[in-house]
């Protein structure tokens, strides 16, 4: 009689125990959901004609960075021309606080010296950098960009390079803060640069 009275209680204890253990195991093993936002950006070091250049060398400045190559027929010069226009249009006191980086994904043709000539044509605050394939791949991955070589047998160029085309805006602390279309107007770029400048 005594045992009979305790049977439902024993059953309840066992069920509850199993439910709680099952819940615990499930919560422990369940896959976590994917992160909602991917954190892009980060420091890197590539080669310029004047030696290695790291993004961290520009700490305290706002950096406008573009990934392309010097033989790129249209979008790269357009982006660099917009950067130039924005840089020269900034008030004189803000001009030393901004810099431009042109990362070439075509190290075969873009030597650091060639990149220096190319970028200086646009503006002295623009620095051309490149590196080995693995160094370039690392930068491209850090910024969520892409590039690929396309062979063009019928062209005198031999090959072209498809690539992401946007201007990355990096704040004075070295963090990627914003991106802007290479088609943006210089005034849009000025506004975006000024928004990142430390308030004096």
């Amino acid at each position: 009689m005594k045992n009979n009275a305790l049977t439902p209680l024993r059953g309840l204890i066992i069920f509850t125990f199993l439910i709680l253990v099952g819940l615990g195991v499930f919560l422990f093993l369940k896959p976590t959901s994917l992160p909602k936002a991917i954190q892009l950006g980060g420091d890197f070091t590539l080669q310029s004609a004047d030696g290695p250049v790291s993004l961290s060398d520009y700490r305290g400045k706002v950096v406008a960075m573009y990934i392309g190559y010097s033989a790129c027929p249209d979008v790269c010069p357009t982006a660099l021309a917009i950067m130039r226009q924005a840089f020269v249009s900034l008030p004189p006191e803000q001009q030393p606080l901004v810099a431009g980086l042109f990362v070439s994904v075509d190290p075969e043709r873009d030597t650091p010296e060639k990149l220096k000539t190319y970028t200086q044509f646009f503006h002295p605050a623009l620095t051309g950098v490149t590196g080995t394939k693995s160094e370039i791949d690392e930068v491209v991955a850090l910024y969520g960009a892409f590039y690929r070589r396309i062979n063009m047998e019928d062209s005198a160029m031999g090959y072209a390079v498809d690539h992401s085309s946007r201007i990355y805006l990096i704040g004075p602390q070295g963090k990627l803060r914003n991106t802007i279309s290479h088609n943006a107007s210089p005034s849009e770029l000025i506004e975006a640069l000024q928004a990142l400048l430390p308030s004096s």
């Binding site: 209680l9 099952g22 369940k30 790129c72 063009m152 498809d162 991106t179 279309s181 290479h182």
Partner: protein, 173 residues
Amino acid sequence: MPYKSPEMHSRRGRRVSRRYKKRQRIRIIVITLLILFIGGLVSLISVLKKTESSSVFHLDHECVLGEDTCVAISGEQKVTLSADEKPESLKIITFTTTLTNIHADHIVLDLQGKKMFMGINQIDMKKVNDNTWSGSIEMAVCTTGSMTWLASLLIHDESLAYPTRAEFEFVAQ
């Protein structure tokens, strides 16, 4: 009736009191276990519901983004996607999506090469009304030829662990 001394009465009273206390303890244990059981069961069901696999959407008919409204269906659920013009690299395109029988807390539109990673091209779409969302995005890539792209809508419902995904193919230069 046999005589019962006050001492016997008191012993009986203590026995009754012990039995009562024991029953009370069992009752408390049963109620606690029931609460734990029901709580555990409800939590388990809600966790299982949260991780249930998202629907697989199938295109309702062949469509050309920029010319047609593309429709993807999964049972009673329907997602449409349209573009204000034919998608093209380095051009800002406004995409609009409508949802039927799908709850969304936020929607991400991701444009990607079907066979190749083309960099991150994503936007958070803005809610226009109850079931319509819209957003403008640029496929920020300079490419030499045309290729097949995938426009993926990641429909996030906070009560589910994974977003519902609907994909639409298109060819763009």
